[in-house]
Symmetry: C2
């Protein structure tokens, strides 16, 4: 099926062999390798920053905006922070070997369902080189080999980081091929990765909506969709207005560039008269432009008119779409029609409303009287996050280490046969 | 993205609407509908057998082998058994609403990860009409709407069964569109189903290898691969020969036509001299033809020569491939090279061998001193089975009701915002 001559396929084969060697290793071996990686990142900081300087220069020469260049840049402080994150991963509980179900069957067979590594995890990502180390650390902790396909703009940085990681793995007695960069900078190498079914166990695209859409449409390797967030805040008829304002402004403006920021606010008609002018003002004071329906426009002269494009938008900016809805069910219908399925919040003091909203909304996370900004592996106490899955199979919501595993049934008898 | 004019897409949209109505229903409502279905199947047996007679006549007229016709045929006894299976599903624990994780975060937010229905489940299947009812019952129990795409040879039977199911749903106050046949008998309707991403949450192909391969390669809807089983029995150097013979013959010959039957036996060289002649004879007595390597051919004159095709074969017949291996690791390497990842068994009295085999084999189920035939939802005590997943994402091994669910995080605060 696969082209044996392809360097991408050859890389995937080496990853699979490395995964076979990783699978039986106990936690101590994997943790020792991660500690070696953290040490090596610190020890070889100069080498990493030198490689990074090439990427930064290339980006500046190409006229890249300084904000984007800043995301690309690695300073000694940032490398120290990346190394500290790796040490945090060492301290996390080991997902591998956890027994999820277990019973002794009536015939005496002992049944156990045990967590095992997935095998080979492919990560396709854009932008920041810190993802290279973060993703590798989480995959290694969970016993997986990882194939990293970063953006060409960070190629020198990623190559230097992966060289450090591979040396550290070898020094700890683990196969270097457990961490590999996917060769080639063009689209063709991503395409080959997406077709490496049987060699790559899962592909996780991290980046913009168009990258994710391409991978989902073209991959025969199973994919976990991550990260697009058209999140809603619904202010119920029975909401305390002060609480609603606080949650709304925080959900939108605390950090607008991330996937768990709110992009639309829906307000119940029963509370709109008093609430809309206050909300429009509070949002404006937070620097937010409101794109509203007729009711919002009537409530505040600064509100711009909203179109279907606004309901569909993941702005990732100081903009918010705003509508008044006649009922909770209408709010749910609006959300179902437009959401990316990430996070929706309800603000209400009515338990029945909270319960109905929670039951009807079909997204990874429903917030009741809390900001959408809390949907995050770190905030949820998972200690680390490989991404936020917006699909329903395998993993949904913030993905920590358990989500990077599969399971295996182990059934033990003493000569049992089926009658 | 999707063609709004397509009857398949229109069906999927109705399924999605029905799923929205099913999601908030409590167990009692779903169980009442299932009981109504069981009653209706019994009450309308004549109507079902009459429709089935059309399919049977058509199959006989087309010269279908009588064994296949038998699988298609529905008698009053078989319909009663199908109704009884539905009642068994009623009695199973409700997966929906189960809290999988829960904690109070340091800031006081209450975090719960709750099982929820997947939404719309598509089943593409061949052959037996009993799958129509089994699959619908499991999907309804787990709160899902189901789209059924059976084979054209059972079209009249499936149509009659689905009519009974839909009437029973309506009589119980549930949306009839929670159970629908996918319109059209051609390949095009399967293709549309596979492209209905966003409307269909998961596709489960049940049937032959070629159907499964097509769905996996062409579907943009997430797929759960099921059922191909090239299963191995490895007889370790430290195996009790009598136990090994019993497990080998049972794994192969107790029911050769199913996916958990053994297709290859691997024997450690250290035990081969005494074991091979006995095994060849025992298999022959059970009616099994052995396709062996040189060692097996030397041990018994009836053994036929094996080629790579034999190692790859899922015979589903009274045939078995057989080889001698120099070590446990060589057995594992053979298995990794040829297995479909379903079930592998080791027979050994050596705990270290059992442990190493269990750790290195990468399949849904590892049997230690037990027949491969035990990999089955019913045997595992799950009470029901929608199929056996041979993939690593979402579900692996026998799939019961929990595997037909996703999860949702519900986070409750009292005005929490992120600082």
């Amino acid at each position: 099926m696969s082209d044996d001559q392809s360097p991408v396929i050859a890389t995937a084969r080496r990853a699979q062999e490395a995964a076979t060697r990783l699978a039986p290793l106990p936690r101590t071996a994997r943790d020792a390798a991660l500690s070696a990686i953290a040490d090596a990142l610190t020890a070889r900081t100069d080498q990493i920053t030198a490689a990074n300087a090439e990427d930064v220069k290339r980006a500046r020469d190409a006229g890249t905006p300084e904000a984007v260049v800043d995301r690309l840049a690695l300073t000694p402080e940032r490398i120290a922070a990346i190394a500290a994150d790796v040490r945090d991963v060492v301290a996390l509980p080991d997902p591998v070997g956890e027994v999820l179900r277990g019973s002794t069957l009536p015939n005496g067979l002992e049944l156990r369902q045990v967590r095992v590594p997935l095998g080979v995890v492919g990560i396709v990502y854009e932008a920041r080189p810190n993802v290279t180390v973060d993703a590798a650390a989480l995959c290694l902790k969970s016993g997986n080999a990882v194939l990293l396909r970063g953006s060409s703009s960070a190629y020198a940085s990623n190559s230097a980081l992966v060289a450090v990681l591979r040396d550290a793995l070898e020094s700890a007695g683990l196969p270097a091929d457990a961490v590999q960069l996917v060769p080639g900078e063009g689209r063709e190498s991503v395409r080959e990765l997406m077709r490496a079914r049987g060699l790559v166990d899962v592909l996780i695209p991290r980046g913009g909506a168009s990258l994710i859409k391409t991978v989902v449409a073209e991959s025969t390797v199973p994919v976990i969709e991550t990260g697009t967030g058209n999140c809603h805040v619904y202010v119920d008829e029975h909401a305390d207005p002060d609480t609603a304002l606080r949650i709304l402004v925080n959900s939108k403006a605390q950090r607008p560039s991330v996937c768990n920021a709110a992009e639309t606010v829906l307000v119940h008609a029963g509370i709109a008269d008093g609430f809309l002018p206050r909300a429009a003002e509070a949002l404006r004071e937070a620097g937010v432009t409101v794109h509203g329906d007729a009711a919002w426009q009537a409530a505040d002269p600064h509100v711009l008119p909203a179109t279907d494009e606004d309901w569909a938008s993941e702005y990732l900016s100081y903009d918010i779409a705003a509508a008044v809805v006649p009922s909770l069910d209408a709010a749910v219908a609006h959300i179902r029609a437009w959401t990316s399925g990430h996070t929706e919040a309800i603000v209400t003091s009515d338990t029945a409303a909270a319960r109905r909203f929670t039951a009807l909304v079909d997204s990874t996370t429903v917030m009741v009287n809390a900001s959408t900004r809390f949907t995050d592996g770190g905030q949820f106490g998972f200690g680390a996050e490989i991404g936020i899955s917006t699909q329903k199979l395998h993993a949904r919501g913030p993905m920590g280490l358990p989500e990077l595993t599969s399971t295996k049934y182990v059934v033990t008898g003493d000569g049992h046969i089926r009658e």
